[in-house]
C-alpha cells in the first residue's frame, strides 16, 4: 500500500510539473510577458524593477526555474487589481467554494444514489423510465440557465430565498463558514442545488446502469437460490458492487465541481474562487489566473490520489501494484 501511494505521488508530481510548464509557456513565453504580468498602469521605473525581478532578460529555461522556485515558495505574483499576492487572494475565497462543493456532493449522494437505485430496479416500469428521462434534463440543460431558473422560481416568483450572495458566517477555527446560521443556509441552498444538478443526473444514471448490470449477474441469481430476502440482496449484494464505480465518480466529480463552481458563483454572486477566476479573466488579472490554475491542479491531483486509494480499499480484487497498462 505504501509503495502504491509513493508511486502515485510521483506520478502526481509529474502532472504538476507538466502543468507548470504549460502555464509558464502560455504566460511567459507566448506573447509579451511584461504585457501579461505588469499592470498597464505601472510606471517606467516599476517596469524595470519588475523585469529585473522576474528575470525577463534571462534565457527562457532560467526564467522557468525561477518561476518554479517562486511557485514552490507560494509566490505567484501579485494581483494587478488588488495588489496583494495572488495566492492569498485565492486562499481567502476557498472556504466559500468548498462549502458549496461539499453540500453539492452531499446532495449528489443523497438524491442521486437512491433515485438511481429506484430507476435501476424499476427500469421497465413508468417510474424508472420517468426518472431516467428527467435525468437527461439534468445534464443537458446549461448550468447557468438552471441557476437562473432557480432564482426566477424561488427568489422572484415565490420570494422564498435570497437571489444572491453569501449569508452570515461563523468563524470555525479561524475559517468563516456559513453552515451554522440559518441565514447562511438560505443563501447556500440555491447555488448548491444548481451546482449539484448535473452531477445528480450523472450519478443517478450511473447507479441505475450499475444496478441493472448487477442484477443480471450470477451472484444475484445464486443469492436468490439460497432464499435470501430481496431487500438484503439489494442492500448487500447489489449496492456493495455498484458503490465502487459510484464512489470513484463522485470523488472525481469533486474536482470537476470546483471547476463548475465558476458558473454557479457567477450566477449567484457567491464570493468564492470561481467568481474570482471569472472576474480576474475579465479584468485581465493574469497572476491570479495563473495562481488559480496551479492551485486547482494541485487539488485535482490530490483528489485523484485519494480516490485511487479509496477504490483499492473498497474492491478487494484490486491489486495495488498491478502492472501499469
Amino acid at each position: 500500500m505504501a509503495l502504491f501511494i509513493l508511486r502515485r505521488l510521483i506520478q502526481s508530481l509529474f502532472v504538476l510539473i507538466a502543468v507548470s510548464v504549460v502555464v509558464f509557456f502560455a504566460v511567459y513565453a507566448v506573447g509579451d510577458p511584461i504585457e501579461l504580468l505588469v499592470s498597464p498602469e505601472a510606471s517606467m521605473a516599476d517596469r524595470q524593477a519588475m523585469i529585473a525581478r522576474l528575470g525577463l532578460d534571462l534565457p527562457v529555461w532560467q526564467q522557468y526555474m525561477s518561476f518554479l522556485w517562486r511557485a514552490l515558495h507560494g509566490d505567484l505574483g501579485n494581483s494587478f487589481v488588488h495588489g496583494i499576492p495572488a495566492i492569498s487572494l485565492i486562499v481567502q475565497r476557498i472556504p466559500a467554494t468548498f462549502e458549496l462543493v461539499v453540500v453539492a456532493i452531499f446532495l449528489t449522494c443523497a438524491i442521486g444514489i437512491p433515485l438511481g437505485l429506484v430507476a435501476g430496479l424499476y427500469r421497465d416500469e413508468p417510474l424508472g423510465r420517468g426518472i431516467m428521462a428527467t435525468s437527461i434534463l439534468g445534464f443537458s440543460l446549461p448550468g447557468f440557465w438552471q441557476g437562473m431558473m432557480l432564482i426566477l422560481l424561488f427568489a422572484v416568483w415565490l420570494g422564498l430565498l435570497p437571489a444572491s450572495g453569501r449569508g452570515e458566517t461563523v468563524n470555525v477555527l479561524g475559517v468563516p463558514l456559513s453552515f451554522f446560521t440559518a441565514d447562511g443556509w438560505s443563501h447556500m441552498i440555491l447555488p448548491a442545488i444548481n451546482l449539484a444538478l448535473a452531477n445528480i443526473a450523472l450519478v443517478l444514471r450511473l447507479t441505475a446502469s450499475g444496478v441493472v448490470e448487477a442484477r443480471s449477474q450470477d451472484y444475484v441469481k445464486f443469492a436468490r437460490a439460497k432464499g435470501v430476502k430481496p431487500g438484503r440482496i439489494v442492500r448487500r449484494h447489489i449496492l456493495r458492487n455498484i458503490l465502487i464505480p459510484v464512489v470513484t465518480v463522485v470523488g472525481m466529480e469533486f474536482g470537476s465541481l470546483i471547476a463548475y463552481s465558476t458558473i454557479t458563483e457567477s450566477v449567484f454572486a457567491w464570493p468564492g474562487m470561481g467568481k474570482l477566476l471569472i472576474d480576474s479573466v475579465y479584468q485581465l488579472d493574469r497572476p491570479v489566473v495563473v495562481a488559480y490554475v496551479m492551485l486547482v491542479t494541485l487539488i485535482f491531483v490530490l483528489i485523484n490520489l485519494v480516490v485511487d486509494v479509496l477504490y483499492a480499499v473498497l474492491d478487494p480484487r484490486v491489486q495495488l501494484l498491478a502492472p501499469a497498462n
Binding site: 441469481k221 436468490r224 438484503r232 456493495r240
Partner: protein, 327 residues
C-alpha cells in the same frame, strides 16, 4: 412421509423473442424419490439447465415457465408465489451452480455469504451461524475453516470454491439439491474429489440430488438413475446400470458409443452425425430423427409418446433391441 419427493409433469419453459415464444423445455416428466440421485444428461442446448432452474422458479425474462406441475413433497411449486418459493430455496431445495467464481459475490466475505443462507430462513445468532458454517466447510474438506470464513472468493481455487458451494447447499439440510454442471469448469482430478464429496453428503443425509451434466461418465459413477434429454424432451430414463448396458433410445446409444473410454486405442471415435438443433430449428415429429440411423417415416409425423418398460421408459418408435452394447 412418502417415498416420492419430486414429481414433474408436462414442464414447459419458453423463451420469448420478437419472433414468438420458443420452448427450451418441451414437456418434461420425471419422478424423484427421497435420497435418490438422478443424472440429467444432455448436450448444450438440450434444455437441461433450464429444467433445473424452472423447478425452483428461477427463470428470468425473457424466459417463462408456461405449463406443467412440479409437485415437491405434495405441494405444486408452480402454484406458490415468490415468497413461498423463497422460503423453500436454499432451505429444502438447494442449488449448486456451474461457475463458482461468478456465483459468489466478489466483494463479500465467504463467511457472510454462508451465514446469510442460514439466517434468512431461521432466527439464528451470528455465533451459532458461524459455527455451523465452519463445520460445513470442514465437512467438505477445507482446511483452516475458521480463518477461511473471512476470506474473499478470489482467494480460493476453483475446486475449493465449488466445495464452498456444496457446503452452502448443505447448510440447511435440504431434501433436494439441484446441481447444474458443477464440475464442468473444473479439471478432472478435482472433479473426482467433488463427486466423492457429493456422494458422501447425499448418502449420509439422505438428500436427493439432480445432477445436470453432459458427461455420461460422471453419471455412471454417481447416479442411481439417468434421464437423457434431447431438444427439450426427456427421451429415455431408467436405472443407470440398465441404461448404460442396454440403451433403448438411439441417441443414448450414440452418446455411449462416442465416449472416449469405449473406443479401442487407435480406433476412430464414433460420433453422432449432425448437430443438435438450435432452439428455433427443432424438427417436427421426433427431434432426433434427422440424426437417427434407424428413423422410419412415422418418426417425422408425430413425436413418440412415452413407452414404459419396468422401471425404464423411453420415447421411440424403433427402440434398440434387448442385447447389450459392448461397453
Amino acid at each position: 412421509m412418502t417415498e416420492e419427493l419430486l414429481k414433474v409433469r408436462g414442464l414447459r419453459t419458453a423463451f420469448h423473442t420478437e419472433a414468438g415464444a420458443w420452448p427450451a423445455v418441451d414437456g418434461v416428466d420425471f419422478t424423484l424419490r427421497r435420497g435418490e440421485i438422478l443424472g440429467l444428461v444432455g448436450e448444450s442446448g438440450s434444455g437441461k439447465s433450464v429444467t433445473g432452474f424452472s423447478l425452483v422458479g428461477l427463470i428470468d425474462a425473457p424466459g417463462e415457465v408456461v405449463a406443467g406441475e412440479v409437485i415437491f413433497d405434495g405441494t405444486d411449486l408452480r402454484q406458490l408465489d415468490e415468497e413461498g418459493l423463497r422460503q423453500l430455496r436454499g432451505n429444502r431445495i438447494a442449488m449448486i451452480f456451474q461457475d463458482p467464481l461468478m456465483t459468489l459475490n466478489p466483494v463479500l466475505r465467504i463467511g457472510e455469504q454462508m451465514m446469510e443462507a442460514i439466517q434468512t430462513h431461521a432466527k439464528v445468532s451470528n455465533a451459532e451461524a458461524r459455527t455451523r458454517c465452519r463445520e460445513a466447510l470442514e465437512k467438505v474438506g477445507i482446511a483452516s475453516a475458521e480463518s477461511r470464513l473471512d476470506s474473499y472468493p478470489h482467494e480460493f481455487s476453483g475446486g475449493m470454491r465449488q466445495r464452498v458451494a456444496i457446503a452452502i447447499a448443505m447448510l440447511n439440510n435440504p431434501d433436494l439439491i439441484i446441481a447444474d454442471e458443477p464440475t464442468t469448469a473444473l479439471d478432472v482430478t478435482i472433479q473426482g474429489q467433488i463427486l466423492y464429496r457429493m456422494q458422501e453428503v447425499c448418502r449420509t443425509l439422505n438428500t436427493a440430488l439432480i445432477w445436470i451434466t453432459h458427461d455420461l461418465g460422471v453419471v455412471a459413477e454417481l447416479a442411481d438413475r439417468v434421464a437423457v434429454m434431447y431438444a427439450g424432451r426427456i427421451v429415455e430414463t431408467g436405472p443407470v446400470s440398465e441404461i448404460l448396458s442396454a440403451p433403448r433410445h438411439p441417441y443414448t446409444q450414440g452418446l455411449l458409443q462416442s465416449m472416449p473410454g469405449i473406443a479401442q486405442p487407435g480406433a476412430r471415435l464414433q460420433q453422432i452425425k449432425g448437430m443438435a438443433p438450435s432452439l428455433t430449428k427443432r424438427p417436427s415429429g421426433c427431434a432426433f430423427r434427422p440424426r437417427c440411423p434407424n428413423a422410419i417415416a412415422r418418426c417425422a409425423e408425430q413425436a413418440p409418446d412415452i413407452t414404459t418398460e419396468g422401471s425404464r421408459s423411453y420415447r421411440c418408435y424403433v427402440p434398440i433391441a434387448r442385447e447389450s452394447v459392448p461397453v
